[in-house]
């Protein structure tokens, strides 16, 4: 199940032979597409209506009068320095991705390719980690940040998650199939042990690193609960925190709150459009969530 090739072609099935079944299949798929896409389109359209059109009952779906007013209001709001919030989210996400990829591949390589005392114990601990939900340990994690004086700091969003048990597990699985001959050849050529990892193993981990990186990025970008606990200063908020704050300020102004939602959704959706092949394949391969 774990190594299915998603591009493999299927033999013609019933649906393709029986025209009635085929129409039915496409109809159901189309309904599914509509249910998936219409809410996105609906809030996009809402964000493009003038405030007066929003409150009309029954509402319009497409704007009768197109307006960028809501976006202008957000961009010109001195309390919403958008660039600052995008920067916060980007710094935290990129920081976590870079560190996680390094620690996961390094530890994954060691667990895959070396035999040493205590290995099973240490790897067992990694496996146990996989089972612990974040909500179970968030209280002690918070108390540690208090001791380290990292509360209300963007560092507090990166430092507690620099080593990812799932990442180590995933990397170990991939590196297990890496040929030992290449590693030995590099050693004979005089490479240091770190050199073998950095110059021989790492460059061959493109696919799993990309998958893990994308997922870590999205998880951090969309994370809400931990930033909600850690961050208290407005300027240090990440985008999801900004969004709930902004909504609490402008509850009934749906043109504004939907425009703000679009602004938070857009970067990830753009990334997704370019990388969807990797992302969807990554889920199928790893069962990552």
């Amino acid at each position: 199940m774990a190594t299915v090739d998603l591009t493999q072609s299927s033999s013609p099935s019933v649906a393709r032979r029986n025209p009635l079944a085929r129409i039915g299949t496409y109809a159901v798929l189309a309904i599914g597409l509509a249910v998936t896409l219409v809410p996105f389109i609906w809030i996009l359209m809402t964000s493009l209506k003038p405030a007066s059109e929003i409150v009309r009952i029954p509402p319009t779906f497409f704007p009768e009068q197109w307006s960028l007013n809501s976006y202008q209001t957000i961009f010109n709001d001195p309390k919403v320095p958008l660039a600052r919030f995008y920067l916060n989210s980007t710094l935290v996400s990129v920081g976590r991705v870079v560190i996680t990829l390094f620690t996961s591949s390094l530890a994954g390589y060691i667990f895959a390719k070396f035999v040493f005392r205590g290995k099973n114990l240490l790897f067992g601990f990694i496996l146990i980690q996989l089972m612990i939900p974040f909500q179970v340990v968030m209280i002690p994690a918070y108390l540690i940040l208090v001791q380290l004086r990292l509360i209300d700091s963007l560092w507090g969003l990166v430092i507690p998650s620099m080593v990812d048990a799932f990442g180590i597990f995933l990397m170990r699985q991939f590196i297990s199939t890496f040929p030992n001959d290449l590693i030995d050849a590099a050693r004979i050529d005089g490479a240091s042990e770190f050199g073998v990892y950095w110059r021989v193993v790492m460059p061959n981990l493109g696919a799993p690193l990309a998958t893990l990186g994308i997922f870590t990025f999205m998880a951090t970008w969309n994370d809400y609960l931990w930033p909600l606990i850690v961050i208290t200063t407005h300027e240090k908020r990440t985008l999801p925190l900004l969004l709930t704050w902004y909504t609490s300020q402008h509850g009934q102004r749906y043109d504004l709150t939907m425009a703000a939602s679009i602004l938070v959704l857009l970067p990830i959706l753009v990334v997704y459009i370019f990388l969807q092949r990797w992302i969807v394949r990554g889920v199928a391969l790893t069962g990552m969530k």
Binding site: V4, D5, R16, L29, F114, F125, P133, K289
Partner: protein, 330 residues
């Protein structure tokens, strides 16, 4: 699972030399010692400390006199946090409500999710490859979207007057509910309407994930089997019921477990869409933990609740292992 250990596999770790050469020792322990020291602080310590805290009446705003703020005005109270879960106090009632809500939510999400994703995966798998890729990519879109934005989006879709859903219901000639998210008296088959709304929004966001896993698993089923059944005259439903579902059992089990476990941990959509209301009908366990720990600073009590959450996750996981041990040969 560890096929790498089979002799002759070019990727297997070298077994003949037990232990490491000096240069390797420096590398291995030079890397692992910092990593595991770090995990000791940020993973092992929290696991132990959440258990320790659950035996104390601990609040970080009070000053204790013992180790790490425990003792003194943060006294050891034994199992009182756990026994008081069954007490007749308002806090305990709220806790029990939140556990009940979380179980209802997780169970219904599982049922609705599987009822949608399994048949849908069969349909997606049956269409032309190019269509399949596009359809799958679009179905997966909500799962990568920010949960906060999704909660705000659906809060507006459920808006009684301006919302998309009620206007659609009116359009097809039915009477929409007066309020989806705030009417404590409204229910569907005994499930509060607000809970139904949260489940709809959550399944909408989450279904693409299981769908992708099912599609991948379906592609792993050899086509000969289905072709043979078809030649024998099996209908589409018979093929689904007698071949597809049994062959998918290991995947089904994996998906059920993961869906259950992640439903136990849902926070954002409850917090942002309903805030736990109306009358705590959608207050989830994670919301209750968050509020007690970080709003009321009752961290000992919240730690005990976290352990209940952990127990729920553990039970589901153990059931999965138990079932997995049965023979899967077909």
């Amino acid at each position: 699972m560890t096929q790498a250990a089979i002799a002759g596999d070019p990727g297997a770790p070298r077994k003949e030399r037990a232990g490491l050469r000096p240069g390797q020792r420096t590398f291995v322990w030079g890397a692992l010692i910092p990593i595991f020291l770090y995990l000791g602080v940020f993973a092992l310590f929290p696991m132990i400390w959440v258990v320790v805290l659950s035996f104390f009446s601990y609040s970080p705003v009070r000053v204790g006199d013992g180790l790490l703020g425990l003792g003194g005005r943060n006294p050891f109270i034994g199992l009182e946090n756990f026994t008081s879960m069954l007490a007749d106090t308002q806090t305990a009632q709220l806790f029990r409500t939140s556990v009940k809500n979380t179980l209802i939510f997780a169970f219904l999400v599982l049922v609705v999710n599987l009822a949608i994703t399994l048949p849908l995966a069969v349909l997606v798998e049956s269409v032309h490859n190019r269509v399949k890729g596009v359809v799958r990519a679009i179905y997966f879109m909500p799962t990568i979207s920010s949960a906060v934005a999704v909660a705000i989006m659906w809060g507006y879709v459920f808006h009684p007057q301006q919302g998309l859903l009620n206007n659609f219901i009116k359009l097809i000639g039915l009477t929409p509910p007066k309020s989806w998210l705030t009417d404590p008296g409204a229910a569907v088959f005994g499930v509060p309407l607000a809970m139904v709304a949260v489940i709809i929004a959550y399944v909408w966001q989450d279904f693409g994930y299981n769908l992708v896993i099912f599609i991948a698993a379906l592609q792993g089923i050899p086509h000969d089997i289905r072709d043979a059944a078809q030649i024998d005259g099996a209908s589409g439903w018979q093929q689904f019921r007698r071949i597809t579902v049994p062959l998918l059992r290991p995947t089904l089990l994996f998906v059920c477990t993961l869906t259950m476990i992640s439903s136990f941990q849902v926070f954002v959509i409850f917090q942002v869409m309903t805030g736990g209301g109306p009358q705590n009908q959608t207050r989830s366990l994670t919301m209750d933990i968050y509020e007690n720990a970080f709003r009321y600073q009752a961290m000992g009590w919240a730690a005990a609740m976290s352990l209940i959450l952990f127990a729920m996750v553990l039970i589901v996981t153990l059931v999965q292992f138990r079932v997995l041990r049965t023979d899967w040969e077909y």
